[in-house]
Amino acid sequence: MHPGIIFFLVILGSVLFHIFTPWYWTDVASNWGSMDDTITLTFWVGGGVFIAVCLFMVYCVFKFSYKEGRRAEYKPEDKKLEKILTWATTLGVAALLAPGLIVWNQYINVPKNAIHIDVMAWQWGWQYRLPGEDGKLGSTKIKNINDNNPFGIILEDPNGKDDILIQSDVIHLKNNRPVKILLRSVDVLHNWYVPQFRAKMDAVPGVVTYYWFEPNKAGEYEVLCAEYCGVGHYGMRGRVFVKNEEDYKNWLQEQETFSDLIAKQEEIEFSKTKLAKK
């Protein structure tokens, strides 16, 4: 068989695979449909170039395969053609870059009404902290972390007292309300990633990183750690529930605040000393 035919079938197969693939992205469940749009755009432009270049190659292979005695064309350069190709490529690349930068600008500028969520990662698990009624998260310090203060909140910080602590890998989010994910890690790199939300960012020990999204489809989603974090990496999962306003409120009310935790511990401490006195 002429090799050109096989190369042609490879290109054709790639196109057919793309059209009929059962493997494609999950339905987007956040505001980042615009990311899907940039992928689609890149797909059309890039896919077009791929098909064009490969088909041209296949054509050349058929048309100009070796014949004894025939001479190839002798033409070292074609300034005009090279110029056209350079500018066309530059234009195509700019057309892909511009939307990318616009969406990136949205990605790094968080809306004012976003709920802040402290996502704390460790080897290998997640826990979450939400601001209390003051809408502010208390500041934290890794060295403060202990059994009585699982988030390492600085006790002197008044903002921390009413923080809502969720010592579980399950978090609920309010539908159609932007959230700012504030990532921190106590040990190594991690990454809080829900494929349906599209967005991700590494958690880095020593700094707080962030990203935001607005969930817009109620349901249950799986959280995956997307940055290699040691041997338990693949088991570092969590769950997110996106709920409507009422369910979200009910869930929130069941959660414990930092003051609750302190009070509970004092109670335990108190009964312990009482027991000791007896």
């Binding site: 190369f7 493997w23 791929f50 190839a72 002798y74 990318g100 990633y193 040691g230």
Partner: protein
């Protein structure tokens, strides 16, 4: 070993009068080539088996040594990838494999393939063999240093492989070795494993610097008369520029490895902030894990081009020779190589869009990354335009070239996805990335290596490889590799994260099980198909068709040595003199469809050659 003058051949430097080609009568001004500025080079000739084949100073032998050792480590890398694919496709058959093993295999596979296989093979292997021959030198300018370079590489490989046998095994931190996890207990091989890895890299860089200086100075200083820079084959341009990149990029890896070793051994905190491990605060503080990533990728991205540029150069020459046509837009090709090389130092943080670095960097690095697509695209256009109106021999070498074009364009375009910061966010850390970089810097360069092996094997050994076996090898490898990595992109679209030992029953990926089985099966076949090449080489060494001189009717100097395979010193008693670029194929008016670089203009008076 005695080293008196009798052991050396002293060759008189040639004056311009004694070399004009075509007999005394036809000497005219058009054949004038500037006289040599310095005398010919003295070489040390080995006499014993040890000095000829082991501690050898002949760049050609060193090239073959690099090639064989790199191939040996590459086969280890291949076997590791089989084990990984076994786990991913058929976990029930891989019950012997723990997550620790899996991550160790992932790490060693990545590091071996990128550094110890591809880099060593392109620069150490092809660089050593081809540079002196292609520029018309007798050897590298520092043959002794060149020998030491190879043996440093040998020690680096020994240290690397030794880490399989130390307590805790090799490091399992991923080939990027990101701290803090690489030196903490949650990662396999975080003790001796990571230290041996760092040590091996340091040795590799030191050895590589010796070789690299040789390549650079040989290209700059030891070209033969008439071999101007703009008459060099693109292979030499690619290897030369890649070596410049390596000289500037590898130091970043070296200091990164050194600083990480200090963090591990002495408890410094270059990359280590305050950290909790198992509830205890470790004695680190104030360091930055992201700093390591900057150092790593400041090396790591140029590293991509350290592999790609020699591949670009070699493929240009192969396409030109076997299309019987000059490479289209030679000057554009040279400048594209140089520009890509320069730009490659300003794009590194596109590996770090979601690393937690200042997000404003995203704008800068997305822009530089997409700019680099322009010269790269120009190269692709020029390759296919070289085929246009050529006289294409559809032999094994050409098949590898065509395979390269398909896989490189495919991988290059998925690079535009990942380079464009927003598009990268959903795709980073997924199988899309794996598919992308395997296609563009695994399979595409491998196609070039294979094409180069089939092309230059006759020069190295004096015998041809079997075309029939070569074609089987090609189709298995190309179709197999393409069916591994093309569908793999779609796993990335689903969102399947990379570096997962298993997926459990994640709701997104139940549909991916079948694909993983398919990919693994293809991987086993492609890996096994490489043994066709090994068989072909062994068989052809004994019974291959004798190649004779210049079997491909090529123009460049390496085919024009007095004996095939070339002997030590390459050129007998006279250095070649170059009169033209290496791409005068199918020149109108010329008798043959090729005019070698040493043919003086007076020999081809009727031809209409462009002045080069």
């Amino acid at each position: 070993m005695s080293e008196d003058n009798n052991d050396k051949i002293i060759i008189q430097s040639q004056s311009s009068e004694s070399i004009s080609g075509g007999g005394s009568g036809s000497t005219t001004d058009i054949d004038y080539v500037r006289p040599a500025e310095v005398g010919d080079q003295d070489l040390y000739h080995g006499h014993s088996f040890i000095t000829k084949w082991v501690f050898c100073q002949d760049a050609k032998v060193i090239g073959v040594q690099y090639f064989l050792l790199a191939t040996f480590t590459g086969i280890i890398g291949l076997i590791l990838s089989w084990l990984m694919r076994l786990q991913l496709g058929f976990p029930e058959l891989a019950s012997f494999m723990t997550a620790e093993h899996y991550y160790q295999f992932v790490t060693m596979h990545g590091m071996i393939m990128v550094v110890y296989f591809l880099t060593a093979l392109f620069l150490g292997g092809f660089g050593n063999f081809l540079i002196p021959l292609m520029v018309g030198a007798r050897d590298m300018v520092f043959p002794y240093l060149n020998m030491v370079s190879f043996w440093m590489f040998f020690i680096a490989v020994v240290v690397l492989l030794a880490s399989f046998f130390v307590p805790g095994g090799p490091t399992g931190s991923g080939w990027t070795l990101y701290p803090p996890q690489s030196i903490l207990e949650g990662t396999p091989g975080s003790g001796m494993g990571i230290l041996l890895m760092c040590l091996s890299l340091i040795l590799f860089v030191a050895g590589f610097t010796m070789g690299g200086l040789n390549y650079l100075i040989t290209v700059l200083q030891a070209r033969t008369r008439g071999m101007t820079l703009m008459r060099m084959p693109l292979t030499v341009w690619g290897i030369f520029t890649a070596t410049v990149l390596a000289m500037l990029a590898f130091p970043a890896l070296l200091v990164g490895s050194l600083m990480m070793s200090l963090d591990k051994i002495l408890g410094t905190s270059f990359f280590m902030p305050t950290i909790l491990q198992a509830g205890e605060v470790l004695e680190y503080g104030g360091g930055s894990p992201i700093l390591f990533q900057h150092l790593f990728w400041f090396f790591g991205h140029p590293e991509v081009y350290i592999v790609a540029l020699p591949a670009f150069g070699i493929i240009s020459d192969l396409i030109s020779v076997h299309s019987r046509k000059n490479i289209f837009g030679y000057r554009m090709m040279v400048w594209a190589i140089v520009v890509i090389g320069g730009l490659s130092f300003f794009v590194w943080a596109h590996h770090m869009y979601v690393s937690g670095m200042n997000p404003w960097f995203g704008f800068f690095f997305a822009t530089t990354t997409l700019i680099i697509a322009v010269p790269t695209a120009m190269k692709v256009y020029n390759w296919v335009l070289t085929l246009w109106r050529g006289n294409i021999r559809l032999n094994t070498v050409m098949l590898w070239c065509l395979g390269f074009i398909v896989t490189f364009v495919n991988g290059g375009i998925t690079g535009i996805f990942l380079g464009n910061v927003t598009v990268d966010v959903p795709l980073s850390d997924t199988y899309f990335v794996i598919a992308h970089f395997h296609m563009v810097m695994g399979i595409a360069p491998l196609m070039v290596i294979m094409g180069a092996v089939y092309h230059w094997f006759p020069l190295v050994t004096g015998r041809m490889l079997s075309e029939k076996l070569g074609k089987w090898h090609f189709w298995f490898t190309f179709l197999g590799a393409y069916s591994i990595y093309f569908p793999m992109h779609y796993l990335g679209f689903i969102g399947v994260p990379r570096r997962y030992f298993e997926m459990y029953d994640s709701p997104y990926v139940t549909s991916a099980v079948g694909m993983n089985e398919f990919i693994s099966t293809a991987a086993f076949i492609v890996g096994a198909a490489q043994f066709i090449l090994i068989y072909n080489i062994i068989k052809s060494l004994k019974t291959g068709k004798p190649a004779g001189k210049n079997p491909w009717q090529a123009n460049s100097l390496e085919w024009l040595t007095p004996s095939v395979p070339p002997e030590h010193g390459n050129w007998g008693d006279r250095l070649p003199v170059v009169h033209r670029w290496p791409y005068d194929y199918s020149v109108p008016g010329a008798k043959e469809d090729f005019i070698t670089q040493t043919t003086p203009p007076s020999d081809v008076t009727n031809s209409e050659v462009e002045k080069t």
